[in-house]
């Protein structure tokens, strides 16, 4: 099951050329671009591992793309997300975030039901991938 988080996630995966154009758009607006990766695709997993520091003061997308290439080399079988942070007063938040890399196979989520008192049912989702320990969830 394809994970749909962030912008563009219902489109086919962006090509490097398209990612470059998006990054350039962010840099032209003065946003700091940041790379993060994770092997836990749960939608409530907000804090992903950071790939280096957010890249401030860049002018050209080539620098970000070089970092992305380096990140893919090491974590090519995981989810990699690119986010752009706007530091201008009043915004001070992430303006754009999208997935730039995903595992070849995404096993999807299981719906768990727990019976509680009074026949109430509590639902929770669990990624099949997280059945295995961290670091060995996707192929590796």
């Amino acid at each position: 099951m394809r994970v749909t988080q962030g912008a563009f996630s219902f489109l086919p995966d962006l090509t490097d050329q398209q990612i470059t154009a998006q990054v350039q758009y962010c840099l032209d607006h003065g946003w700091a671009v940041n790379l993060e990766f994770t092997d836990d695709p749960h939608p409530r997993n907000t804090y992903w591992e950071m790939w280096g520091l957010p890249m401030f003061d860049l002018a050209d997308a080539a620098g970000v793309m070089a970092e992305l290439a380096a990140c893919r080399k090491l974590h090519g079988d995981l989810y990699i997300r690119l986010s752009a942070f706007d530091s201008t007063a009043g915004w001070e938040s992430v303006r754009l975030s999208f997935i730039v890399n995903r595992p070849a196979e995404e096993p999807g989520f299981r719906l768990d039901r727990a019976e509680q008192s009074g026949r109430r049912i509590a639902y929770t989702t669990r990624a099949y991938a997280t059945d295995r320990p961290e670091g060995s969830r996707y192929g590796a």
Binding site: G52, A59, A62, G63, A66
Partner: protein
Amino acid sequence: MEFGGPDRLDLSALYADSEVGQMLAALDSELVGLIPVKRRIREITAYLFVTRARQMMGLATGTPTLHMAFTGNPGTGKTTLALRMAAILHGLGFIRRNHVISVTRDDLVGQYIGHTAPKTKEVLKKAMGGVLFIDEAYYLHRPENERDYGQESIEILLQVMENQRDDLVVILAGYKDRIDQFFKSNPGFRSRIAHHIDFPDFSDDELVAITCKMLDEAQYRFSPPALELLRRYVAARRQQPNFANARSMRNAFDRMRLRQSLRLFETPGLMDRAALTTIEAADLRASRVLTGLDGSQQEDDGGNHDTEEAA
């Protein structure tokens, strides 16, 4: 054989269309002297232009190697030219952004193990798409200390210079003999740099012309006796230690302005426009360079080799 693209191209029309022609003309008129440098720039521009034309015709072209080394004494216009070079390369479409990131050893080399690589990469990322100007590049290599972190920085630089040639142009600058020494101990660098440009010292006449230009830009002018005195000043300043060509002239101009301001400040009565814009001979004569001609005056802030000079 099928090439695709047009059969004929009018190079001069192509040249006229681009901003590069104007940029080169501006280079010729705005920068005094530097004849051999200008000729080399013209050659490089022509080469890049023909490369562009070949690409349009569908002929075989590799990305040309654009890395350069600027060698010459201080104040001969290396940084100024690097800025112009970025504009020219940008006009020709060989770099995507018209920016120059100017760095020295401090910006590239870290203080402890593991600090250098991220620092150098950070700088490279900022420079991507434009020109990275490394001033006094030979300080990266410290032959007396084999554990110096400079070597790590050099290796990262070399790798990027080779693999991301279309993303980044690196320009090294420094004194000629030391750059040559640096290349000797880092042959990898020498072979990756296509253009070695040597900046000659300015002649006395050129320095006078440059100083007049600086004054003109700041809306000042010399009175005729002051201009006469300036010629003597240039000749005398050249004999002094830490002479830095045009930079010395700029510093001299700053001091002349100070003296002129003081003179006007202490003159009672009304000022007119001419008084405010004219540098008189008196403003120049007070200079240590000239007063020290007979005596043996010492530089008052000598010692710092790079920031140089007093006058």
